[in-house]
């Protein structure tokens, strides 16, 4: 479905897309790196509007968000396309293609909101591919959802320019941002993008008061260097992210990196311990089945407050998000 795109300018016979730091320069008929935005006779149009190719009801824990309305369902959607090109993309069949090539549903923002309410979801998640690739659809849907009292969740690599992010932020309640590595060369090798804009996005989300969680996938030979992970942690601690949950996830061979082995569990646990010792309050290890780091512990008295087995949860938090044992407040959005 064609829709005029936001955030572009014309320069001679070129259109420059200013939505993400890729800043694609497009001649007439050319499409950007994300495969969703095309210069049509001097107008930038997006092919990713009201045509999701993936639509599911997921537990909010799957995003993963562990401190945001636990146990609730979220209507999750994506269109095809992505402004990154990760060698390990597990959704490459929809991310590394254009919406013109996938089988899509026809759902306007209003339809998505009505569906989320009908299905008893507390929120809508923009996920699976990178929602920056369907920015206008996300923005319009998030605005309508917000009017109806639904929450909006963005699961993203955070590769977006500040101005479009500012326009979106008032409608976003929670975000999980993939921080892929802390080495710019590796960032580029692994995902075709750069580190700095992602850090800017993290800072902006925090300043705006959006509930934020971070995912760091440990890809062997790319993002599993302990010294680099330590640098990332130092940056997070120095910049006020101690209360932001961090999810260290195990890599499983996928797509162009099918020849690598999975992340050793011992390394994931080592890194998690390091994060705790650096002062990160909520550290999780994902993709290895239930483990010590699947649960949420009270940061003061260490009582287990949320037990997780897969996506099922047993909570010992009281209704106000306070520890049942010592009554201290747990960071998060609990109702």
């Amino acid at each position: 479905m064609r829709h005029e795109a936001k955030y572009y300018r014309k320069k001679g016979n070129t259109v420059i897309c200013e939505l993400c730091p890729n800043m694609c320069r497009l001649l007439n008929g050319e499409t950007g790196k994300c495969r969703t935005r095309t210069n049509r006779h001097g107008m930038l149009i997006t092919e990713a509007y009201a045509n999701p190719c993936a639509l599911h009801i997921d537990p909010v824990e799957k995003k993963p968000l562990y401190h945001f309305l636990p146990g609730t369902s979220t209507l999750s959607l994506a269109t095809a396309g992505c402004n990154l090109a990760c060698r390990n993309c597990q959704n490459h069949d929809i991310s590394q293609t254009s919406p013109l090539e996938t089988q899509n549903l026809d759902l306007q923002p209003d339809d998505i909101v009505v569906m989320a309410i009908q299905k008893g979801c507390s929120s809508i998640s923009y996920t699976y591919t990178d929602p920056v690739a369907y920015y206008e659809y996300m923005l319009d849907t998030a605005q309508k959802a917000n009017e109806k009292g639904l929450k909006n969740i963005m699961v993203s690599a955070g590769y977006i320019n500040p101005q479009p992010l500012d326009e979106l932020l008032p409608f976003i309640d929670a975000a999980n941002i993939d921080l892929k590595t802390f080495d710019d060369n590796v960032y580029h090798e692994l995902s075709g993008v750069h580190l700095k804009p992602v850090l800017n996005t993290l800072l902006k989300l925090k300043e705006a008061g959006v509930w934020l969680e971070i995912t760091n996938l440990l890809v062997p030979t790319y993002s599993d260097d302990v010294a680099m992970i330590e640098k990332m942690l130092d940056w997070l601690v120095e910049n006020g992210f101690k209360s932001v949950p961090i999810h260290y996830n195990r890599f499983v061979p996928t797509y162009k990196l099918h020849y690598l082995h999975s992340t050793p569990i011992a390394l994931l646990l080592q890194v998690a311990e390091m994060a705790v010792s650096k002062g990160m309050k909520y550290v999780y290890v994902g993709n290895i089945g239930p483990n010590h780091y699947s649960n949420t512990y009270c940061p003061v008295c260490q009582a287990v407050l949320l037990y997780r087995t897969g996506y099922s949860i047993r909570s010992k938090l009281n209704n106000y998000g306070k520890c049942d044992e010592c009554n201290c407040e747990l960071d998060g959005v609990w109702k």
Binding site: H56, P64, C89, Q90, F251, N287, G310, Y311
Partner: protein, 40 residues
């Protein structure tokens, strides 16, 4: 990115909800976890 892979049957039961998420060995999901919800 979150894995798109999940087996949901929610759309097949109109008016009610019954959905199952089976997460396999993919990088953003717990291996082998099963999520089941039934709202009738």
């Amino acid at each position: 990115m979150e894995n798109v892979m999940s087996v949901t049957v929610s759309w097949m039961v109109s008016g009610n909800e019954c959905f199952i998420v089976v997460s396999l060995a993919f990088a953003r999901c717990l291996i082998g976890s099963i999520y089941y919800k039934n709202v009738f």
